[in-house]
């Protein structure tokens, strides 16, 4: 990759390589592949949130619902038109992009504050959740249906690895593509500069000719597309789709924690946060599965009370500790990776 055109490309390549080799020591273990896949999936959700909330002050609290729309749409398009899900996925991504863009556009037009957007999208989330359960003919209601799209098992048989490993690399490809998009968008395109100006002072940005509504709508569209992809892959990872995968507590709360833990507006914040949160989650799953929800609730409170403003510094200190304790490198924590160009 040409580092002149894409700042941070070298760091990203390094992170990519770490994630490519991450599953090698644990190829035989479906459990660890699952944990690694969830790290990537929630990094992808948090990446979308980083763009739309971190850089655009639009707090989307309907990532679960939107991800669900993406997942169901991918399957339904593939099923009802008899096409491959590789056609269904772009359709779903486009649909979710347009939904998110409309929300952003309306919110920006009406000058919604971040609080109003969060309440609006939370309501949308609940509508989607109800619709997934209620529209039984399409979604199979709360019992759902098997979700084994993208004929990954064929690839897996050909290569001679478990299907979960193929899925992991598929998710990784999408995450890295998302990261390239992020680096380009935020770090080197005029969009990044416009986002920054709008975030600093919306009125001032408008006065120097930045079309605030347009930029916010674009950020919403990009987030919507990423969320649709993440949602589809999340269902594929579970290999069975039910509304319970896409609830507010299952997706939005976790993605929010991931982003705040990792550091909002940090290039590798979503990835770092996802590693930390999923390691905690895996540890809890083994030792205190019943207390998982309670602990994440407590974590949410503490994060926002004590680390919200100073989270970047705090996360860096935290990361140095984690780097030592992770040691083996099966996570690939990119501590100093981001040069903040």
């Amino acid at each position: 990759m040409n580092t002149d055109r894409l700042p941070g490309a070298r760091s990203l390549a390094l992170v990519g390589i770490l994630f490519v080799i991450a599953p090698l020591p644990v190829l035989g273990s479906g459990y660890y592949i699952g944990v690694l896949s969830r790290i990537l999936l929630f990094a992808l959700f948090a990446l979308a949130l980083n763009i739309v909330f971190g850089h655009n002050d639009q707090l989307f609290l309907f990532m679960g619902g939107l991800g669900g729309v993406g997942a169901y749409t991918t399957a339904l398009v593939a099923d009802s038109f008899g096409v491959t899900p590789w056609i269904g996925l772009p359709v779903a991504a486009l649909l979710c992009g347009v939904i998110a863009m409309s929300v952003s556009w309306v919110s920006a037009r009406r000058r919604f504050t971040v609080i109003l957007i969060s309440i609006l999208t939370l309501n949308l989330q609940l509508v989607f959740s109800e619709a997934f359960i209620g529209a039984r003919d399409l979604t199979g209601g709360s019992t759902g249906f098997p979700y084994e799209l993208f004929s990954l098992s064929g690839v897996a048989d050909a290569v001679g690895v478990p299907t979960a490993v193929v899925l992991y690399y598929l998710i990784l490809a999408f995450l890295l593509a998302g990261m390239v998009l992020y680096l380009w968008l935020i770090k080197s395109s005029r969009y990044g500069i416009a986002f920054e100006a709008i975030r600093e002072d919306e009125l001032a940005a408008e006065s120097i000719g930045i079309d605030v509504v347009r930029y916010k709508a674009i950020a919403g569209f990009i987030a919507g597309v990423l969320i649709a992809i993440a949602g589809t892959l999340l269902a594929r990872e579970a290999s069975y789709i039910t509304p319970s995968i896409f609830t507010f507590l299952a997706v939005d709360v976790i993605a929010l924690i991931v982003l705040i833990v990792g550091g909002i507006r940090r290039t590798y914040g979503p990835i770092v946060g996802a590693i930390i949160v999923e390691v905690i989650e895996a540890a809890l799953g083994t030792y205190a599965a019943n207390w998982r929800t309670a602990i994440f609730g407590g974590l949410l409170i503490i994060l926002f009370l004590y680390f919200r403003s100073g989270v970047i510094v705090a996360a860096e200190d935290l990361l140095e500790d984690w780097d030592i304790s992770l040691g083996g490198g099966n996570g690939g924590t990119p501590t100093e990776a981001d040069a903040e160009s």
Binding site: I119, L120, A131, T293, A294, G298
Partner: protein
Amino acid sequence: MVTVSTLAALAVDGLAFGASLALLGVGITLVYGLGEVLNLAIGAFAVIAAITAALLVDGGMSLPIAILAGLAFVGVFGLLVDRTLLSLVYRSEGEERILLGIFTTLGLTVLLEGIMVNYVSSRYSLPLNISPIDVGATVVTGTSAVSIVVTAVIIAVLFLFLNRTFLGKATRTIFQDERGARLVGIDPRKLRTLVFVLSAVVAGLAGILAAARSNVSVANSFQFTTFALIVSIVGGIRSLVGAVVAGLVLGLINTYANFFVGSYFATIILFGAAIVFLLVRPEVMSS
């Protein structure tokens, strides 16, 4: 063909459900109006009161005392939350405080839900055992009638408190002008504590009435919170009268929609109403 008496019975049930909604809406509105904290844990308060009362009844306590104990328990719990968590939230100001309030109370509701599922994981109900009442051609369930009457009394008392007592007037002063209130010697923090405890008790009553009508489980807490949120959006987050009216109207709409088009669609109508109101009148949520 749906008979008139069915429609009337539905109206009573709708008002009874609306009574719970109104109480939840009042609970969330009181706290937001006074301290700009959108209490997303209000549903958990409702569930805590209902489950406490149900457990006490199971333990052999008489129903009225168990209900009072449940309300007292959630009141004390509200006090605890106010003195600890909210004290930290009130340190920040303006939009920062609103956002912080949303996240900490959201974290609190997840925390409480996560703790409660480990101990009280079944469904709890508080049957009032009141026989149906005949009103002309219509038969009204006793529980619905009691729900409506109790809510009406509580809301009347609340309004009397806010409009007639010194403490209530002081509270309303802060609603309108916090700085002015401070200038005449009113301590907003103390009144915020009082109002938060009050809102926890009011929400607790909503939960107890819900348990009396059918049953309540830990999983309902977030649902109650969303109901409270919808009511406050439709009624206007700072208007108590608005919350009561919106609660009753939404309760009626929901019950009729439930009957005619099914429960999922009815719920979607509720959220849809909130979204429409947000888009048409976003100023109701801003300060």
